[in-house]
Symmetry: C2
Subunit: 243 residues, 2 copies
């Protein structure tokens, strides 16, 4: 196939459109960048095609050779990249519910990605995102997961419905809140636990906090404010399943 | 004073130059944005002057009324802001060394800001940054600290010198490393502790790891990778001074 060099090429326009959530929703596709993330996408059977400059690291997949200018146009990065993958969305349901994360309106892609990465590191079984969370197929999210993105089921749904259904299955749902909450160290361990974290500015919505089994706060000697990805990391570390 | 409306104004050019580390180093000044951060800067006696559009929230300080266009030019944000402060650098030495953070070549401003925020939340006494860490006066760093920036002494110096000198003062220096390290839960508490965290890609440099009293790893059931700000948050939470 001929090398694509024109920024006006129809394919190039289609790829660039994947920077927008609307287009990702429409096509069920998203972009990942860099060799490491493409390798992870391959393991997860999500890779559909490859755009590369000069050498193709994944010749077994449908591929397009493109100029550096075209690749940079499709890329979200500042510096020259060399390979971008077009992936297909695959939504899996968690197959176990021993350790889950529930995320209510997380807005920052870096925070969402970091939470996904920690959830995989602490071997959580799945993540439920509220409708108001930022799009998980956003490239900054995928980049911040450092590949972990492909290793955990992530489901977007109403957290009210998720909490009600998890409680019926015997999962203890633990909210996070600075008010009317138990110091985290007093929280017991349960066989099945789900941890609910909230928006960067507002925290977990009041409505959801009334549905949980228990609300906890992370004990702090000083200034009462933690980044949500840090708070989530501390909780997941502390309550990961013991091996 | 007359309202500044021209992007060519000499003052506007000077303020914009503060986006560059070189200029910040030269003038000893830096920018902060938004009412909350300016209030924190005032408490820390760091605010020198105010740029505002329409209403001045801090009329007791030297102020410049500017057009929205000028403010946006000086701002690092995408959306319209309303107030920016020019601050003066004030370096303080930690006055206690019971709990310290040592940061080796942290590159990402968001990670550095989040680590500073957690350190203040867990009432750490100070932070030492290696020469290779990103500039702490970078606006993204200050933004990510959510105001905590002004509440903790931060010193940039050789970490080799810092570790040698802290050990002489009886501070236990704890490195972080996945290799040849103790699981964190086996680490004792000491009266004086300093925690050493490293670069996002490479971790703590080998040379520094040989100088520590002990190296630890955060136990993970799954994928062995955590964001450095999450790892730092877990350590600081666990070993904060008990009140």
């Amino acid at each position: 196939m001929e090398k694509i060099t024109s920024l006006q090429n129809k394919k190039v326009k289609e790829w660039c459109a994947l920077h927008q959530k609307k287009q990702r929703d429409l096509t069920n596709q998203y972009l990942v960048e860099g060799k490491h993330l493409l390798q992870e996408a391959i393991k997860a059977k999500a890779l559909e095609c490859v755009l590369y400059v000069k050498e193709n690291p994944f010749p077994d997949y449908p591929s397009y050779e493109v100029s550096q200018e075209v690749l940079n146009k499709v890329s979200m990065r500042q510096s020259d990249g060399d390979v971008i993958g077009i992936c297909r969305r695959l939504e899996h349901q968690p197959t176990s519910n021993k350790r889950l994360l529930l995320l209510d309106e997380i807005q920052d892609p870096g925070n969402l990605g970091t939470l996904i990465r920690s959830a995989v590191s602490f071997q959580f079984d799945g993540i439920y995102l509220s409708e108001g969370c930022c799009d998980v197929y956003n490239e900054k999210v995928i980049q911040s997961t450092q590949g972990a993105f492909f290793h955990i089921p992530i489901v977007r749904m109403s957290l009210i419905d998720a909490i009600i259904s998890l409680k019926k299955e015997g999962v203890k749902v633990i909210g996070t809140s600075l008010q009317e909450s138990l110091p985290m160290k007093q929280l017991e361990r349960y066989d099945k636990m789900a941890f609910l974290l909230g928006n960067e500015g507002k925290g977990v919505s009041k409505e959801l906090l009334t549905l949980t089994d228990q609300n906890v706060r992370i004990e702090m000697a000083g200034f009462e404010s933690l980044n949500v990805a840090v708070a989530g990391g501390i909780l997941m570390y502390q309550y990961q399943e013991e091996s």
